[in-house]
Amino acid sequence: MLRTEDILMTLRMFQDENCDVRTVTMGIQLHDCADPDLEACCDKARRKIRRLAGRLVEEGKQVSAQYGIPIVNFRISITPVAWWAAHHDAGGLVEIAKALDEVARETGVDFVGGFSAFVEKGETRADRELILALPEALGCSNRVCGSLNVASSRAGINMDAVLAISRSIRALAQRTASEDGFGCAKLVVFANMPDDNPFMAGAVHGAGEAECVINVGVSGPGVVKRAVERLRGTESAFDLGDIAEEIKCTAYRVTRIGELIGNALADRLQVPFGIVDLSLAPTPRIGDSVGEILQMMGIDRIGAAGTTAAVALLTDAVKKGGAFASSSVGGLSGAFIPVSEDAVLEQAAACGDLSLEKLEALTSICSVGLDMAAIPGDTSAETIAGIIADECAIGVMNHKTTACRLIPVPGKQPGDEAEFGGLFGTAPVMPVREGGENFIRFGGRIPAPIHALRN
């Protein structure tokens, strides 16, 4: 028999600590769905997704029952729409979004990601049409998510695209004004966007990927928090090195579960297993919060001095444990700090402890710094572009992924609250600093950093 303590520890992860497989995302290549005829293009995409993902949820539930492990979400990521729907204008792309929405509902997945484009060095006509289509495409659909890569360490930052997407973000917020601009929760702007991210809203099935793969996103803020709590409950002395070790061991266990479930499901579906994303992804539920981990590590007020160092320790320990657990680590694999989706972060933002600037600082050591951050609805496109550009600069200069999921909440000002419902939670509207608009209006491209010249 296995060691009793190992059995009880694994049991606690599921019983008391909200451990689960957060998402199983099937990546599907859609290049072969390109067609100048809009109806044919939609039909090809629908048929291919139906054929490959038709059994995803059913088989996934069987694997979940077989192992006794909850799988919270089933999702699909597709080849960026701008790559295979380049024949069509913005109106046509909206029809494609509707077709994707329809097939997502049919297959039983909650989101399909990939209404996307990569424009870090320049835009094609199709990319520009997609940026224009985004407000209506994401506004009229329920399950379609979009993303745009506007910067990379190899190419620099495409400031024209940053401003264009900022205008689309404002338009999307207006299009979904009755839901506090919730449409923007389905749109992420990236620097160094990964090709295999399974987490929404930024999931795509990028270049170099196989025809169809299974990617898995594990999660376990609750498990990590309890591990640190248990360490604090011991009588022996410990220091931050011990906390890092404890988190590392916990991340190992969590990642192994994701790897097992992903491999088992891929095997059933006869498709390759892609990657496991180690990111700590919180939900508004108590006991499932990255903020709670930081509190357990001694950061009583999230945003206080020391917060960035604590997140650095956390993210690094999670990566080390995960890297040993799996040889297929990919996606974002960093801590998420989505303001509205994490009850403790939301409270910290509401009382002013956590500002946009502090979140931006955290971006330098986690994967998505400005995530589900609500800002005033009347924030100008130039100011939004400035916030995005700052995030991108951190990513580009540090050779890492950074991203923004900003929600300008129509009609609301700092101090108000935006309500997104369910696992998207609520978010206080955070103040923004204006005054850099003229820099943005210059447009053009911020060149790649000198250390991009690696060859």
Partner: protein, 198 residues
């Protein structure tokens, strides 16, 4: 095992002290035998052991028992010996998997019997059982092998009923989950092994 040898199962119980295993295995050695498998545990100061030994043919179980028990009088051993029968009485279908059932709640008389009966009725074999009592609370961990897929399905389906009936928190974990979280072996090997079992 050749024609000149025979395998025996030897079970021993005694109050625990140093030197028990040394004495038992010396007796087996002096009988011309070899220990091929052994499992031993100590609970509340009592020693328990089961071993399989290959011994020269022609020896009766009673000869072996006497030699082990009476050859070590100061240890106060209670020994039981049987000839090994390689034909298993329970042969589970290999695709039914091994599961770990945990139960946590208030201890009371008859609890283990109720759980064991629930499993026996569904043709589920208990391969290992561990219980720990702290105050009035008991934790039970059972390693289970259902007879086949149907039996495994019944186990999963009846879990809530068992939990309600006993007013205990129950949880069922597949062996592979525990191996994944507790061992360092490659996950792909686990999945391939399971696939091979189907």
């Amino acid at each position: 095992m050749s024609r000149k040898t025979k395998d025996y199962i030897i079970a021993v119980m005694a109050r625990d002290r140093p030197g028990i295993i040394s004495s038992i295995t010396r007796s087996v050695f002096e009988l011309g035998g070899n220990v091929i498998e052994l499992s031993q545990t100590v609970m509340r100061g009592y020693f328990s052991l089961i071993l399989c030994a290959t011994l020269p043919a022609g020896m009766t179980p009673e000869n072996v028992r006497k030699r082990v028990e009476e050859g070590n009088p100061r240890l106060g051993l209670t020994v039981s010996v049987r000839e090994y029968d390689p034909q298993p009485l329970f042969l589970p279908a290999c695709d039914s998997g091994i599961w770990f059932l945990t139960l946590q709640g208030r201890d009371r008389p008859g609890l283990i019997c109720q759980v064991a009966s629930h499993l026996a009725e569904r043709d589920i074999n208990i391969e290992d059982l561990y219980t720990r009592t702290t105050g009035e609370e008991i934790t039970m961990i059972l390693q289970l092998h259902p007879a086949d897929q149907r039996s495994a399905g019944q186990l999963r389906a009846s879990l809530e009923d068992l939990s309600n009936r006993l007013a205990m928190e129950t949880h069922l974990l597949h062996q592979d989950i525990l191996r994944a979280t507790s061992e360092v072996g490659a996950i792909r090997r686990l999945v391939r092994r399971m696939k091979g079992e189907k």
